[in-house]
Symmetry: C2
């Protein structure tokens, strides 16, 4: 019905109405879209969690590579992933959009459809936001709210020497997928790992509820960089075994396309949105059992040390010098 119509045809309030019409009421929402602020309440005994992520066209996404539906799903997923890394239960979100006026309504509808689909998968409701025009680039800023019992929240700072370092799923796929996408190989399955990552919300919450993770983070900046955040905040070090890294078939087939040093996307590539967490050795059997119940692969890749240093160990047992520790947005 909206063929060829653009945002400028319906205006800011039209856009808000259009978005509001697609959202329902969520548990704990006292006031939703349409007032100066939204109101919400955490279930008794729980405290609120909040995280925010901004995606800027030309920095985080390129509209010549990504379809609007996947973009909407990913914008939601990256926020869900942050809440997952705390072991929280996601509940509500606010959406701010800065939209170039020539953006088509079809594009916006598809983007919203993807975002709301991802949100619904995890029981998350849109409760507010802001819309405005943008001179040139699309900007999507999401603030995600959730909650958890305070004693179950998993922070970055809880890793202790001897804890095992674990990661869900496989690593490096997103970085390899992005290179394939840029090389015109968008049909490779691994590309979906970049365009439409799966936030590990259920896994994060299950680990938190079972009190199995001593520290946790999601992989957004790259394995070494994100592990570095845990180490910094926990005042510890780690030894990671290169041979232990969980790599997908797609990664093994394509990693050399992305980098001559074929493991560097697994160590430094960002945006996998897997969970990286540390576990007391006695809890490892419970972790494997829990993840098996959920159908989620989990791999032990190393251990926490008291020496404040991050070492990557090769198959010969020797430490590998490794420079690039992740992707810095400003570098």
């Amino acid at each position: 019905m909206s063929v060829g119509r653009e945002l400028k045809d319906i205006g800011e309030f039209g856009l808000i109405d259009r978005i509001a019409a697609r959202t329902g009421a969520g548990a704990g929402v006292v006031i939703g879209i349409g007032d100066d602020a939204a109101a919400f309440q955490a279930p008794s005994g729980r405290i609120n969690l909040v995280t925010t992520d901004m995606l800027v066209e030309g920095v985080h996404f390129d509209l010549s590579f990504c379809d609007p539906f996947s973009l909407g799903r990913k914008a939601m997923a990256v926020n869900l992933s942050d809440l997952a890394a705390m072991g929280g239960e996601p509940r509500h979100f606010l959406l701010s959009l800065a939209v170039p006026s020539a953006t088509t309504l079809d594009f916006l509808d598809e983007c919203m459809r993807g975002m709301l689909q991802r949100a619904e998968e995890f029981g998350v409701t849109l409760i507010g936001g802001d819309t405005c025009s943008s001179p040139d680039r699309l900007v999507i800023s999401i603030t995600l709210l959730g909650d958890q019992f305070p004693e179950r929240i998993v922070r970055r700072r809880g890793a202790r020497p001897g804890d095992r370092v674990c990661v869900t799923g496989t690593v490096g796929d997103s970085a390899v997928g992005l290179v394939l996408l840029k090389n015109g190989k968008g049909d490779e399955p691994i590309v979906r790992r970049h365009l439409d990552p799966t936030p590990r919300v259920r896994e994060g919450k299950a680990l938190a509820d079972a009190r199995l993770a001593s520290a946790m983070i999601d992989l957004s900046d790259g394995l070494l960089a994100d592990l570095g955040h845990i180490l910094d905040q926990s005042s510890v070090g780690a030894r990671i075994h290169l041979d232990a890294l969980p790599l997908s078939v797609g990664f093994r087939e394509n990693a050399t396309v992305a980098s001559p040093q074929s493991l560097s996307p697994a160590l430094a590539g960002g945006e996998d949105y897997e969970l990286l967490f540390t576990v007391h050795p006695k809890d490892m059997p419970d972790v494997f059992r829990l993840m098996e119940q959920m159908g989620t692969p989990v791999t032990e890749i190393g251990a926490i040390t008291d020496e404040r240093k991050l070492s990557v160990i090769g198959s010969d047992g020797e430490e590998i010098p490794f420079g690039k520790m992740g992707y810095d947005h400003f570098s």
Copy 2:
């Protein structure tokens, strides 16, 4: 110390550290900056309020007109104003910044100093956010959290026929100030009303605590447009008396510069960030008394009607046809 240094010299994590170093702990903050999400808790019996506003360079601000310190203050103020309009107590905020890499550290420091100064005035603490690069324009997105007892929250939808329509301060100053600014008259005092608006946080909370306002909104889109939101959501109409509009000396001296139809900035000009609220007639003396105690001017400008129509009445008692109902960002 940072003369000539640019954001690209310190990188994303450097920027986060720089911002985090200036923030303290706030009441109710369980986890602040530095984890995947922040955690906070409302005082017992209260529910959470949340609002978000995004400012885009070239849309909401022009760096050739506004200094970074005022920009930071305003970015905070527009969010505080939204929370004020609910009668809430602001507590914490998240800041997302998309920053062109050539931005100087001096600029960012000044912007953060203004933002944090405004936040501190109202006891608000930075608890998280996101930073990234921007190819060209600065984008500032703030999410403000607060709370209030649920029965005291003031919504847009509570206006009833017979209620009086009141507004704090004066109207139209920001729109006139902006025109003066664009005409190179940045020294006129009224220009500050555009660059550095005062959020009516204390007034909004006092009205809510005393249960004196039946509906409330802050003036961001313009008097008629914002009153229109109250009327829509309350399913009522209003009659506004043009002669009753509170106008500043600066407005009277300069409004014709802004518009040949000299009252149109008062009716349709946005960004005054005053509070517009409705009051049962029996409560009007209490409203005047409360605002007098606070030293804040308040003016009765009309009344709510059961006819679903917004009328502006001139000094001759006749209705004035008035087309422009406010500024739509996409129009």
